[in-house]
Symmetry: C2
């Protein structure tokens, strides 16, 4: 009943079956040869990466994945390997885990709980499995589960009742703030209730809007975490099981919330940029807090030599904005350019004059400025093969305080799911490590600088009010009545909610960004654009 | 056993429960008073519109919908009404149909087959119903089903076996080319097999990317269509049932395919623009076939007085392009403007010169031109509250032959799901009614006119090859090998597929457009951006 179980918290590439197979083979060899492991457990759907979305509808892709497991089994016969793959059985597709040993498939499990909420669409692809699955190794009986299975009461206990000594679970559990505590709590409670140790292996890395945070762990049958891998980094570790009981091993400390958020954003940027083959990143640096934070994140993700900043002052840009932006670019050691937008703005103004004759200035003229910046940034992005990072935050995305094809232009929006207040906190956190963002950027009132003496609060409720209202409305589906009853000003609630309701069209065209809250925009919150629903009656 | 059943092929607004309730009440009164109907049947989820997407996660919205049915029942007690609504039962939500009569809920059915493929996400929201549901009226026994139920073998027969004389089905079945034939065939076959007449009521109208085409019908127990409502227009009609057998009534003829496609596009534009409250539409008119078709569609959808065209020639624009664009604007009677883009292009070129020193011209310079047009069009859209219509077709969207924030800019992309070859066919079809597109626009080789003497075929396979390859790869998930085996040039297949694979990021930021094929982009084909899958090895 003695076993060494390796947890392979390794990154996988969606769609790249050949590369993922190679990672599995190399990791398994390492676990056998360097760690002397008897068994190595990988994350959910290892072979194809997660989430592969509609690639799962391609028969060639599925066939390739099904063939891959045999090739892997043959390559590493001397250690038991547990990997996930999309199992084709007749005309049905299952989200399965297989045990490979001695060159063959020893055992196979089909996921029973298929999540179909939030960012998950598993019932679009997979059929529900109906049985638990046990296999024996060194005299111990091991049970298999996959991700959502352990979030539902009963499946861990079912395995124990069927005779399992140890439960293995393969996961692709995406990060959001606080998720790791939730995850450990749920698994530990069930481990304790069923009196069975649980080996929890999670994916690590960024995939489009999702970041998988790793933090794989082992819980003993008393529901205590006896091993924990680091958050946000690949790690292959081994845990000793004596008489099927896990022996205490290293427990990586959990980051504080703010640090976890920061790390998630850094990893999300790094993986999006590198996996998509960009030469680096550029961004518009305005002297405001949002672009200041994105610049710091980008440098931490990619290195200063891969990041370029562009200052694009207009007649409304204050001197201190330019000073602060330059100071910051220099502090972080990134190359920067200064391109005043006036010539382009002037050209468009003159070109449109005959058409706009007799009209008053409005947001049209503000949008022209933002879009001139968008054109410049995209030109520099195109010319160099560097991705343009969009610097808008979640508060702006929620209420539509951003210009389509202007400041919303870009390939990736790192802080799209970060509220304005959290932007400040993250900036302060980053400065607490090494000061790279001028204090003045943090303390001055935020402004889009698209009109004279403009500040955000001219158009929006104060951010301490706005962000709390948005969280309640967007993340918790509270009604206007409930939010007002919680003490918020009816005028602020009305303003915020009506802006959220009517700006879905902008969000639909925004670049992808990193999910860090329980409900992000993008594939998570799916609202109609054309909609008569009004969260508030006006 | 004699009954007059009214089919309410009426439009419903997603999210607007008050307006939908009013439509139901007025339609029911009309059916009773004007048509002497005993029963009126409405489309699926009548009360909230379809698809309401994540509005279904809001408790306030669901509560409002659940209350609405009682209010409706009280308002029109003297006719039996069948409507759909999201039924909250404890913590479960069902996609239900209720029979209202004499001011009360007489009977209730919960949808059994919940589609979770293509554009459908019903398992995200609803729990599966488990029973069929019969009710009696004038001595006849009626069974209830909802949409997907009748696409699955067995549920119609189940109702017959349970004792139903007539089957009613509430639908929100979106249009794609040929769907109506499929729909009638499946229902008629089952009606005949089970020997039961079927009353099929479909929604009509556009909702974001979907168009519901109406064409409600009644099949008799021999599987013959004995009544058909028109395609694409609202209609309330009554069919007599004598001894539970439907009596022959008017059968609207089915449009030819090309005409259906055209009507779907017109309806999709009209409903998106009007439901979202725009004052009208503008578009860039290049002298090419795509914008020519979109202009014709927009005029047919909204009227010439609501549509504005903008010609934005550059140094690469041929004289005939300008001539043809002007001719067309005049032929359709729309206001048009001519704004040469040179001043803005020049401004950007000069502004970027210090940064671009030593580099060669490439697509960057082409994109700048396209983006200058985007800025102009968006400014005119913003100033007037007219929606900008994007003129890109499906072939371009597939291979990324379009500029983000340039010609891709806009609120709605009417022909986003229309292949280039179909663009030509639709233009010819429109000209066959009244010539509005110059013949030269149809016959000259397509060009983006972003570089000297450029034509599309410099960069892309010929459209007759390209479109066929794209259809196989995108709509039918064929592999490169299969497509080559079908006789296409390996070089063309390689070029097309590799472009599709690597341009998901552009599609993700494109405006919504109207689905007219079995697989459109948008909410229908859900691919990862970051992906190692390659449909072809290069």
């Amino acid at each position: 009943m003695n076993l060494k179980i390796a947890l392979a918290q390794t990154p996988f590439l969606v769609g790249n079956i050949a590369a993922n197979s190679q990672t599995i083979i190399e990791s398994a060899r390492y676990a056998k040869q360097q760690l002397n492991a008897d068994l190595i457990v990988f994350p959910e759907l290892t072979v194809i990466g997660y989430p592969a979305e509609d690639l799962l509808l391609r028969t060639d892709f599925i066939a390739q994945a099904n063939n891959a497991i045999y090739a892997i089994a043959e390559q590493v016969p001397d250690i038991a390997i547990v990997i996930g793959y999309p199992e084709q059985a007749g005309d049905k597709l299952y989200n399965s885990a297989v045990v490979l040993h001695h060159g063959a498939v020893v055992s196979s499990y089909r996921k029973q709980a298929l999540p179909n909420y939030g960012v998950f669409d598993e019932q679009r692809y997979f059929v529900v499995g109906e049985h638990c699955c046990l296999f024996e190794l060194n005299g111990a009986v091991l049970g298999l589960t996959i991700c959502e299975d352990v979030w539902q009461a009963g499946i861990i206990a079912q395995n124990k009742q069927a005779g399992a000594d140890i439960l293995l679970t393969l996961n692709a559990s995406p990060f959001h703030a606080g998720k790791i505590y939730q995850r450990e709590q749920i698994v530990c409670e069930q481990a304790k209730a069923a009196q069975i140790p649980v080996v929890y292996v999670n994916q690590v890395g960024g995939q489009d809007e999702l970041v998988f945070d790793g933090a794989s762990f082992v819980a003993n049958q008393n529901g205590e975490v006896v091993f924990r891998a680091k958050e946000f980094v690949p790690q292959i570790s081994v845990v000793d099981f004596i008489d099927a009981q896990p022996q205490p091993a290293e427990r990586a400390p959990l980051y504080k919330q703010i640090s976890s958020d920061y790390q998630a954003l850094v990893l999300g940027i790094r993986d999006y940029v590198t996996k998509n083959g960009f030469q680096g990143a550029i961004l518009g640096l305005s002297g405001g807090i949002d672009s200041a934070l994105v610049l710091a994140l980008a440098v931490d993700a990619l290195g200063a030599d891969k990041v370029e900043a562009v200052l694009m002052p207009s007649r409304y840009t204050q001197t201190m904005s330019n000073e602060d932006a330059q100071w910051q670019a220099q502090a972080l050691g990134v190359k920067y350019h200064i391109i005043p937008i006036e010539p382009a703005v002037k050209a468009f103004t003159q070109m449109l004059a005959p058409v706009f004759v007799g009209t008053k200035n409005d947001t049209t003229e503000e949008n022209i400025q933002a879009r001139c910046r968008g054109v410049l940034l995209m030109a520099m992005s195109n010319k160099q093969g560097k991705i343009l990072l969009t610097t808008g935050n979640k508060s702006e995305m929620s209420v539509g305080y951003a210009t389509l094809y202007g400041d919303m232009a870009g390939g990736f929006a790192p802080i799209k799911d970060v509220s304005k207040l959290l932007v400040y906190k993250l900036a302060q956190y980053r400065n607490s490590l090494v000061p790279v963002i001028p204090e003045r950027v943090i303390t001055r009132p935020p402004s889009a600088e698209l009109a004279p003496d403009q500040i955000d609060e001219d158009s929006l409720p104060p951010y301490d009010q706005l962000d709390a209202i948005l969280e309640r409305y967007i993340e918790y589906d509270q009604t206007a009545q409930e939010i007002i009853a919680a003490g918020f000003s009816p005028a602020h609630v009305e303003r915020a909610i009506s802006l959220v309701d009517r700006n879905e069209y902008k969000r639909r065209q925004s670049p992808p960004g990193i999910k860090i809250t329980p409900r992000s925009f993008g594939r998570d919150r799916r609202y109609p654009i054309t909609s008569g629903y009004r969260g508030i009656n006006r």
